[in-house]
């Protein structure tokens, strides 16, 4: 009974972590950018969906779509207003672009967070679930919304996999994440691949944000922890390795759920952090990372 419960609850949260981290790691793999405004974009998506539903009174589906659309716009804004100017700048030496992108996206994230807090206070918001009610799975009363979350996460990740492996654009993205120079040699425009990747990122972060808003709820306080958790998962899995992130998301998700059930909810995040430290000591490139 308890085992089933852990299995079911752990799955939904892990799938959500996986979705949140996938876009993050994809961008790093393709363009070497660690986007520290990630948490802010996710929260923005959820708050937009909430505001659409409770201020503009649109229905839940439209609200969710508005949330994802807002995240997409925010992702493009991040790329065109912050990341690209830094990458193209001639005044910043190449070896320092990394720290500038980090600082820039971090400031950008703080700006988004402050605006959310200004307009909607820092109180937590929750998005009305698309499907309400509960069903019984093997004696575990599970909210339909939780199942919905898990299914959507898996579907989106599967779609992404199909796109990357089956479409021309997707293959180019995959190639770019393996070797950016190789792509330019093949005559593909690296710039347009970046735009595609940021679009994918925006949609993924938006869906993850809206689902998070339905499943757990978000507030402007969640910005930092969300970025940090995506970061930890990606580091654990290996920077830039999408499959590594997926594995790491499930490891972290289940480790947290196990701790919460078997030890105490107060210590929920600690074992995952300890694991992260251990991995950094023994295998700094992460589970599936390349040096």
């Amino acid at each position: 009974m308890l085992a089933f419960q852990i299995l079911i609850d752990g799955f939904a949260i892990s799938a959500l972590y996986a979705l949140g981290a996938t876009g993050f790691t994809l961008i790093f793999g393709v363009s070497g950018v660690l986007n520290l405004s990630h948490g802010a974009i996710m929260v923005l998506a959820a708050v937009a969906a909430w505001a659409a539903a409770s201020v503009l009174h649109v229905d839940t589906y439209t609200g969710a779509l508005i949330g994802v659309a807002v995240a997409l716009v925010a992702a493009f804004a991040t790329y065109f207003a912050v990341v690209q100017p830094i990458q193209k700048s001639t005044r910043i030496p190449n070896e320092e672009k990394e720290i500038f992108v980090l600082t820039g996206t971090l400031l950008w994230g703080i700006m988004i967070q402050e605006l959310i807090a200004y307009f909607f206070t820092n109180n937590a918001k929750t998005v009305l679930p698309i499907i309400e009610g509960v069903i019984d799975i093997l004696g575990v009363r599970t909210p339909r919304n939780e199942i919905f979350t898990a299914v959507v996460c898996c579907l989106v990740i599967a779609l992404l996999w199909l796109m990357v492996n089956r479409t021309r654009t997707g293959k180019a993205v995959l190639a770019a994440s393996m070797n950016p120079r190789g792509v330019t040699l093949l005559g593909l425009e690296l710039g347009s691949i970046y735009v595609v990747v940021w679009a994918i990122y925006g949609i993924l972060a938006g869906i993850a944000g809206v689902l998070l808003g339905m499943f757990l709820g978000v507030s402007s306080y969640s910005v930092g922890p969300l970025t940090a958790s995506a970061f930890s998962i990606v580091v654990l899995g290996g920077l830039g390795s999408v499959s590594g992130s997926l594995i790491a998301a499930f490891v972290v998700g289940y480790l947290e759920t196990l701790t919460a059930y078997l030890i105490s909810p107060a210590y929920r995040t600690i074992p995952a952090l300890l694991l992260l430290v251990a991995v950094m000591y023994v295998r700094p490139q992460g589970l599936l990372g390349r040096r």
């Binding site: 660690l34 912050v82 100017p85 830094i86 700048s89 005044r91 910043i92 070896e95 320092e96 990394e98 720290i99 500038f100 980090l102 600082t103 820039g104 971090l106 400031l107 950008w108 703080i110 700006m111 402050e114 605006l115 807090a117 200004y118 930092g224 940090a228 970061f231 930890s232 580091v235 920077l239 107060a266 210590y267 995040t269 600690i270 952090l273 992260l276 430290v277 950094m280 000591y281 700094p284 490139q285």
Partner: protein
Amino acid sequence: MGDFFKSRLFFVSLAVVIIASTLPLYVSGYVLGLLTVAYYFGVFAMSWDLLFGFAGEVNFGPTFLIGVGAYTAGILNNQYGWSVYLCIVLGALAAVVAGFVLALPALRVRGPYFGLTTLVAVLMLQNFIVVFADLTGGEIGLTIPDVISIDAGVNYWIALGFMTISAIILYGLSQSPIGLVLQASGQDPIQAGALGFNIVKHKLAAFVVSAFFSGLSGALLVFYFGTASVGTVVDIAVGVQVIVAAVLGGRRTVLGAALGAIFLIVAGEFLRPTGELATFIVSTVALLVILFFPNGFLGAALSHGARS
């Protein structure tokens, strides 16, 4: 080093310090209080810049070192009632030890991995403080029975003196042969290694110096505020502020970092009438500076000076 004493930068700095030291004679206690905090932040930012600008290592966790120094000093004072100065010294030493423990494994890895390790260290410290709430005060923060002084002028002079001495040592170090080796190893570690320098040893030294000043400054700050809390000395947001200050002021200049820190804190206060939007405005300005003047205040001023 010799050139420095003849340079314009030296005279400007000297004049600024002299003017700053007379401020308590004609400025209100509140402005002094604000600058006191800004000066301690200036030391945080300078220590960070030594590590980043010269050793080329991006330390995402300046607040790990600051927090260890601050909390060690605070806890010792709170638990045992030892004298403020002893606690401050022990806090700084604890930060050095923590810096050493962190640096040994962290320096084996490069690039983003070093930054990640330092970031994780902050998260661990934060959890530690919350879990051992009996000792640390946890979420609610640690109340510290003693403060250095309640007189705004005295606090101000201590902070100014401390920042000036730190600036001299850190700047001197960055211009010394050690600093040059660090700079070389930050830019091209293989070549620097080939020239026979022990890079790891140099970097470790830089880390330890950075840790010492961060911890010392953290401990002093705690005895200025009379309170230590995660939100004040450990939170990632505080670390972000330190990094932004250093980049804003001009990285690789050490002194610029202090300038950036003072700007951030004073600007935040001047914007108080804008209320909740103050942080938003400061972040926006900082982002614009990073995008359009990537060399920061001092970097821009220096390059302008060189051209004219």
